[in-house]
């Protein structure tokens, strides 16, 4: 699996371009005008930029017909699939660290007064991981082109449907008070369950010959 991670590492590094940096800066600029939005914007951007790298490696694998090579290696399907999830976890950890560092710098420079840097870093970690929990099985199932449609459904359609449902049922989510610890446990459990389902779908798809 280490070899596969090194391969993905090379692919990510070789395909990182200045466009990413430019897009990142363009998106972050409004945050400087409204400092209260800087940390939420930063955490989301870091999560999406880093999270999308797994999909980039999957798309490169598809283009190179890497699968043909992969099946001749002494690697199990489990190792092959786990490689992508481990990469996703590494990128999520990097996104956590990046938000902590950038948020810390912004606070030191008195750009923000926010005390919730760790909270937003955690959010960035979860979004990065969640992104790949959708994208990895979707790419294995439908190919890298069509998998974006699945992502649109998850990111665009599902939250809209949820919002409409809450409106129809006249539930005001802002009036509901959540216990932070309860929320954290729910979030963590939900992530574990989703991760297991995502991995299972990917593994079963790759196992079929």
């Amino acid at each position: 699996m280490r070899g596969l991670l090194i391969k993905d590492g090379y692919l990510i590094l070789k395909n990182l371009s200045m466009i990413y940096l430019a897009a990142f800066l363009m998106a972050i600029l409004p945050g400087f005008r409204n400092p209260s939005m800087l940390l939420p914007l930063l955490s989301m951007l870091v999560a999406v930029v880093l999270g999308s790298q797994v999909a980039v490696t999957l798309s490169w694998d598809e283009k190179a017909k890497w699968k043909t090579m992969l099946v001749s290696f002494p690697l199990s399907v489990f190792q092959e699939v786990a490689g992508k999830y481990v990469l996703s976890l590494i990128l999520s950890i990097i996104s956590f660290i990046a938000v902590c560092l950038l948020g810390g710098l912004a606070r030191r420079a008195n750009i923000i007064m926010d005390q919730n840097i760790i909270l937003f870093a955690g959010l960035s970690f979860c979004v990065c991981l969640l992104y790949n929990m959708i994208m990895i099985p979707a790419t294995y199932l439908f190919g890298s082109g069509k998998s974006r449609m699945v992502l649109i459904i998850f990111v665009g359609v599902l939250p809209t449907v949820a919002a409409l449902l809450l409106r129809t049922l006249r539930i005001d989510i802002t009036r509901i008070s959540f216990d932070r610890r309860f929320l954290a446990v729910m979030l963590f459990s939900g992530m574990i369950i989703l991760l297991t389902i995502s991995f299972f779908i990917s593994y079963m798809k790759q196992k079929v010959r």
Binding site: R2, G3, L4, I6, K7, Y10, L11, K14, N15, W60, D61, K63, A64, K65, W66, T68, M69, V71, S72, F73, P74, L75, S76, R209
Partner: protein, 281 residues
């Protein structure tokens, strides 16, 4: 154990397709280059995919190094070097980076050997794969297959589309590979002249069936090719005819173990293939 690979009664069919790889029996001895020939769609690549466990057989079994190829897949694959017609490494990588990746995939990977092969093949280690020619890419694939010291090399059409010099280089590498140690090469190709140069045993697959698998020299002694007009066909015994076809006012026969008094000529592998394919229509 005398054979590196044994294929016993393997059958593979695809739903919705009339193609069937039918009851293939093969034994691949050590120290030999086995050339697998057959027309497009004959089943050569399907057979290789079955060997590599990329697809499942409907029935039959394959033993590689005496082990079941499905149960001991990882152990077997660590001793197999596989090279195909296409370079499936990412084009943005360099040969050096490919070596660094494979070092962690194959336990027996030898980076020194890899570097030796790269310099022997005159491949620039720093150049990205996209900058390499087709011949260089194939040589890189071969270098990666050889650098983990496999016991069997499986090659799928690697010489197609290459110039004669590169093809000759590759054939020499294969000869060196089996000359020194207990190794085998299983080599599928369209270019039968390559097999004339390098192969010890020829296996011919036609329409999913294994027509023959014989020592190259024995094939030359076994088969005769004979062409004649319609009137002279009475001289030929039906039992000796393997394949025949009629073209341009002449009958062309492939005769096996012919004891007739007719003098045929020794066929090339190309002619044998042609007669079986045209004769089967």
């Amino acid at each position: 154990m005398d054979y590196s690979m044994e294929i016993n009664g393997v059958v593979k069919s695809y739903p919705g397709s009339s193609f069937i790889l039918d009851n293939i029996h093969m034994q691949i001895p050590y120290g030999k280059i086995i050339g697998l020939i057959g027309e497009n769609g004959a089943g050569k690549t399907t057979l290789i995919q079955l060997i590599l466990n990329q697809i499942s057989a409907d029935s039959g079994n394959i033993k590689i190094f005496g082990m079941n190829h499905r149960k001991m897949e990882k152990d077997i694959k660590s001793k197999i070097g596989f090279v195909m017609d296409e370079c499936c490494f990412h084009t943005c990588l360099s040969a050096k980076e490919v070596g660094k990746i494979l070092k962690y995939i194959y336990l027996q990977w030898n980076n020194k050997d890899f570097e030796v092969y790269l310099s022997r093949f005159e491949i620039d280690q720093e150049k990205r794969i996209t900058e390499l020619s087709k011949g260089m890419k194939n040589k890189l694939m071969l270098a990666t297959a050889l650098a983990h010291n496999p016991d069997i090399l499986i090659l799928d059409e690697i010489t197609s589309g290459l110039d004669p010099v590169v093809r000759d280089d590759i054939l020499n590498i294969l000869k060196d590979f089996i000359a020194t140690q207990k190794k085998s090469v299983f080599f599928s190709t369209h270019i039968t002249s390559d097999l004339d140069k390098a192969a010890d045993i020829i296996a011919f697959i036609h329409k999913g069936k294994l027509v023959f698998m014989e020592e190259k020299e024995k094939i030359k002694n076994t088969f005769r090719i004979y062409s004649c007009s319609n009137e002279k066909t009475d001289n030929i015994k039906n039992s000796e005819i393997c394949a025949k076809y009629y073209e341009n006012g002449q009958w062309h026969f492939l005769l096996k173990n012919s004891k007739s008094e007719i003098i045929g000529k020794e066929p090339t592998l190309d002619e044998i293939m042609l007669l079986f394919i045209k004769g089967g229509r």
